[in-house]
Symmetry: C2
Subunit: 279 residues, 2 copies
């Protein structure tokens, strides 16, 4: 039996707490029925008149995090979330740029570098005091799709063509590393060739330490597509406005409102963001 | 006004010559109305009782060849014919094998060659006393599709990976050349890179001497898909039975009959083959 508790919405209005709405939001976040009930039992004990929706939702999602196996769920949703950056590869490239930036690199997207034979379109150039790297980003729309050996081969040939040149990033310098990064997996031969040829290969679960999954979880740089209550339209809206990281949501809820997302929905999204990738 | 001439069909039966059938066949061959009329005028003067269908059709097509601009027509139909080898790339690979064989090479399709880092699937290996070459065949289903620089890059990296190995073709020997062959065109950058990197590049109209078009026309090794009266089903039937060259039709009309193509149709096909790629 639901308590009749009056709570305060994000816009300041008062309304009775609606357990159904919270239940739906938790289910959308991927929680199982039993987990949802556990969260609701927990929350209902603490409900008080005058609580804000924001507070209740954030609290509910943080309880969910304790109740469910957070690592398994987050892994599943994270893998899915990388796919949801599609259908084009551009948001994934911007996402990679932020990953590299978080590691202390200066980052430039879509650079043209002149090789010995031809100019090359390089998805990402990242550099710091110690090194200059080129990154080829290979985005796939389906989890089952793998980057094969041909991709590793052309990245290697491109690196070779660029390897005797000097580039002006911070200072005049040659390329130090060639990276191939994909949101899914590599074929066995792609890995074998890449490793043998000296490329840095990063896939969803490769290498054992430092995979895409590790990089994201260690740095808590989850993409916005992790947030379960975002509709497809909202996802596109955010990605098109360069909001690719979950953490950007926490830093700029007002931007979401400016973009036309309703205040109440922003509360839900922010609660999910706090639960999934809050610091 | 059509002459009432009794002619002999391929199965030995007699029937009145039907100008309509020949007209349709010439039109299907890509002749324009005025050209068809010119051919029919020419043929009607020479028609005699007791002529065979085979003779009449062959003659009609050879007249057509004189009447129309044969080079332009053949080029158009040749370009189209290469596309018609699709939708998969296998018939094009088999066709290339025959082109190389006609130049005096021993040829093997679908070879696995072990490189320094990984094994590679090589579409075609061709060798003679003087050299051993690997050929990457890139088939496109539409004329507008081009092979881009990434293809040239991966072929180069594959060649590099194979280049320090010895292979047993005729004798133990290293690779001498890497070829990239496409039925359509290359992008400008693909050509620039390929030439700079030392690959042999052959496309529909590249290089200026020795393009796919030149190779076919010079050797008169037109693919069966050049024959205008072949239906889609007949085309597939022939390709699936390793009849990829026009000249194979001339050498083995009985095989076509064995494959279930009607005797009369075989006559038409053979006449077209004689006109388009007879020696």
């Amino acid at each position: 039996m639901q308590k009749q508790v009056e709570i305060i919405k994000a816009n300041g209005e008062r309304e009775f707490f609606d357990e159904g709405k919270l239940r739906a939001s938790l289910l959308r976040a991927g929680a199982e029925d039993s987990q949802v009930e556990a969260v609701l039992r927990h929350i209902s004990k603490e409900l008080e008149d005058g609580m804000t929706t924001d507070h209740i939702y954030r609290h509910a999602f943080s309880v969910l995090k304790d109740v469910q196996n957070p690592r398994a769920i987050r892994r599943y949703s994270l893998r899915r979330a990388l796919i949801d950056l599609g259908p084009t590869g551009f948001p994934f490239e911007r996402f990679l740029a932020k990953l590299f930036a978080s590691q202390g690199f200066e980052v430039k997207n879509d650079q043209i570098l002149q090789g010995r034979c031809v100019p090359h379109e390089v998805d990402l150039v990242a550099y710091n005091e110690n090194k200059l790297v080129m990154v080829e980003s290979k985005f796939h729309n389906r989890m089952g799709e793998k980057s094969d050996v041909k991709v590793a081969l052309y990245v290697k040939a491109r690196f070779d063509d660029l390897s005797e040149q000097l580039f002006d990033y911070g200072k005049a310098r040659p390329l130090d590393e060639g990276w191939l990064v994909t949101n899914t997996k590599f074929t066995e031969n792609a890995i074998k060739f890449g490793v043998c040829a000296g490329l840095k290969m990063v896939g969803w679960n490769y290498p054992e330490k430092g995979s895409m999954r590790d990089l994201i979880e260690d740095s808590r740089l989850h993409p916005v597509t992790c947030l379960p209550s975002l509709t497809k339209e909202e996802r596109e809206l955010l990605l098109n406005n360069d909001m690719v990281l979950c953490s950007q949501i926490l830093d700029s809820q007002s931007k979401l409102i400016e973009l036309g997302i309703k205040r109440e929905k922003v509360t839900t999204i922010a609660a999910e963001a706090e639960a999934l990738c809050g610091r």
